[in-house]
């Protein structure tokens, strides 16, 4: 067993209400603009707790449209399983000059280039 084994689990995401920015729930219950800040819940119970927390923040109008998605953590960085979440955590693949990837808060992986 290595010390930095890949952890698989789920992340809670949403859009921030006031500006629509994509955000991820962190360990301390804040919302991070960077997917690397996200807390990865590996157990169903922990995932349910994230969801509950998200619903709470929807009720107090911080975020909207919370949901869980599959991801894994490798070497301290978070990778979304699905391309849609990778695009959400970077920005448009056709405008790498825009979005999180251009503002120093993109995920720690390369944008898809071309097709």
């Amino acid at each position: 067993m290595t010390t930095n084994a890949t952890e698989k689990g789920k992340i809670l995401t949403a859009n921030r209400l006031r500006d629509g920015e994509v955000v991820f729930l962190t360990h301390s219950g804040e919302w991070s603009e960077n997917i690397d800040g996200a807390v990865l819940a590996t157990e169903p119970q922990a995932q349910a707790a994230l969801e509950a927390r998200g619903k709470g923040d929807e009720r107090v109008n911080l975020v909207t449209g919370t949901y869980l998605f599959d991801a894994e953590r490798r070497d301290g960085h978070v990778f979304a399983s699905h391309i849609k979440e990778r695009i959400r955590s970077l920005g448009p693949t056709v405008r790498v000059d825009l979005g999180k990837q251009a503002e120093g808060k993109g995920g720690h992986f390369a944008a898809l280039q071309g097709v």
């Binding site: 006031r18 500006d19 909207t64 959400r88 693949t93």
Partner: protein
């Protein structure tokens, strides 16, 4: 030039302050998202992948320089310096903040623009020919009828909560450029032997997950009966349209399920039942509306422009541009300029704020202050003197706006797809870019001739892939993007829905596949035969063989 009357501008201003209040109540939590969502959608505000998206109506695709400059201003102040022109003759901004939206709507209202009825289950903004009032082949300007329909339908209580959204398109030309056969209702102008005007009424066309070509319910409806008849159609739809299932709620499903004959009979009996006097279109009213669209005062010019001919003879690039991007104008000495928003490798329909200003300026200087948006995601200067074409081309060239590919392989329609859209199953823009690069050689594009390539990032078909000569639909197979190719679609007069050729392709294989299709056409075409005609003659077989033959 189209403008709102006083009633409308009062109304638009009221809507802005209403929305400001609603947005504030949402931000402070008085309104929940469930309460607020329908309100923001009614004002064109969607939540997309990276931010909010604001969809701004461009009625009849008609803009003036003040409007286009305002869009440029909004792009820079509140967005990221660009906007996306869509197939619905709208403009979408992709990076909007909820907290800024009311200010943006107020700015739009200053130039009589808004985002009303760009969303929701109402009658959406009526669309028409981007060359309306300018095209040489036009019987009459379709916009007054579009406007009549808009004024009748806007906020009509009976039509604000339809089973589903409702889209109407109008064409006044025998060469349909408004895709009337793939709209919920399409209206098409005809003249009878005595020179009287009548409208062919087509119902039940649409794309999305169930693509269908509309059926004609009336061949020749006298103009003054138009509103009464449309009302009868809407009543039948409101009564029988399926509200239980959103995928079956469009009028096309109703027409399909009960059959064209029965549908026609229902409409006719509803229409016969009603007192026509109430809904008769008054000549005076139509004239009042027509005045908003009055043609500019064209000068009497010779048909032949020496300046133009000389420039064309001397400059091959200009001559090529003229060949594809210029269309015949109804007034002698004038031309229609089509501005391609599809440079090689570009994002179809995207325009920067600077480009918007350049076009606004050209419109003001050379085109009676008129600019149009086409449903092919391009811009149009509708009324330009042939004498000025060369000067205009030079300006466009300096802003990467002079690509001479209108109607050719590089003039690709593509929806935002997974790069922006939360409903997408795959990306569409990178596919458009890679095809555009593959066919970068403009001489080759000219050699291939008219070709429509349309791309959608999901089954909703915003990129009109079903009616592309070559259609590409992006899907998700176990988390991977893949693309289904259809051939033989068309939204023009002989509209048809494309046929799926076979299994889909990975994104990186799409340009090769398109190239094989095009080469098959080139190998089989008869002299002068365009792609669509060749496909219709040959059928899918040779294309299938080229695509799927064992390597």
């Amino acid at each position: 030039m189209y403008r709102y009357d006083e009633f409308d501008s009062q109304f638009v201003n009221d809507r802005v302050s209403q929305f400001r209040d609603q947005a504030n109540r949402r931000l402070t939590g008085e309104l929940s998202e469930d309460e607020f969502r329908p309100l923001r959608l009614m004002n064109g505000l969607y939540l997309q992948l990276h931010a909010y998206m604001l969809r701004i109506a461009v009625p009849y695709g008609s803009l003036d320089s003040a409007k286009l400059n305002t869009l440029a201003y909004i792009a820079e102040k509140w967005d990221r310096g660009y906007g996306h022109f869509t197939t619905r003759q709208n403009l979408q901004f992709n990076w909007i903040k909820l907290e800024d939206t009311a200010d943006i709507l107020a700015k739009l209202a200053e130039v009589e623009m808004h985002a009303i009825q760009t969303s929701g289950n109402c009658i959406r903004n009526v669309t028409t020919d981007q060359w309306a009032g300018a095209a040489a082949d036009e019987i009459a300007d379709p916009r007054p009828i579009g406007e009549l329909v808009r004024q009748w339908s806007s906020l009509h209580p009976e039509f604000s909560y339809l089973p589903r959204k409702f889209k109407i398109a109008v064409t006044g030309s025998p060469n349909d450029r408004a895709a009337v056969k793939v709209h919920d209702i399409g209206l098409r102008l005809h003249l009878n032997d005595r020179g009287e005007r009548g409208w062919e009424v087509l119902v039940g066309g649409g794309l999305g997950r169930t693509p269908v070509i509309a059926v004609t319910v009336r061949d020749f409806l006298p103009e003054h009966e138009l509103i009464g008849y449309l009302e009868a159609i809407m009543r039948v739809y409101n009564l029988y349209g399926r509200r239980d299932n959103k995928y079956k709620a469009r009028i096309k499903i109703l027409v399909h399920e009960i059959g064209a004959e029965k549908f026609r009979a229902e409409v006719e009996s509803e229409y016969a039942r009603r007192p026509h006097a109430d809904t008769k279109v008054e000549e005076r009213e139509l004239q009042r509306i027509s005045a908003y669209f009055a043609a500019p005062k064209f000068e009497k010019l010779p048909r032949w422009s020496a300046t133009f001919e000389e420039a064309r003879a001397k400059n091959k690039d200009f001559a090529n541009w003229v060949r594809t991007n210029i269309a015949a104008h109804r007034a002698d000495g004038y031309a229609i300029v089509n501005i391609s928003l599809k440079p090689e490798g570009g994002i179809p329909g995207d325009a920067t704020a600077d480009q918007m200003r350049v076009v606004a300026d050209l419109g003001q200087r050379y085109s009676f202050d008129e600019i149009r948006v086409s449903h092919h995601q391009n811009l149009v200067l509708p009324h330009v003197k042939r004498d000025d074409l060369f000067a205009i081309w030079k300006v466009l060239q300096a802003s990467d706006l002079a690509t001479s590919n209108i109607g050719l392989a590089g003039d690709i329609i593509a929806c935002p797809g997974l790069d922006y859209c939360s409903l997408a199953t795959a990306r569409s823009i990178p596919i458009a870019q890679s095809i555009s690069r593959r066919f970068a050689d403009l001489n080759r594009q000219h050699e291939i001739g008219p070709l429509r390539i349309n791309i959608s990032g999901c089954i909703n078909a915003c990129g009109h892939h079903h009616v592309g000569h070559i259609g590409i639909l992006g899907l998700d197979k176990k988390g991977e993007e893949y693309y289904q190719i259809t051939l033989g679609g068309s939204s023009a007069d002989s509209a048809s829905i494309g046929t799926i050729l076979g299994p889909g392709f990975a994104g990186e294989d799409v340009p090769d596949a398109i190239e094989k299709i095009v080469n098959t056409y080139l190998a089989h075409r008869q002299p002068g035969e365009e792609f669509l005609a060749a496909y219709r003659r040959l059928g899918p077989q040779p294309f299938k063989e080229a695509l799927y033959a064992a390597a």
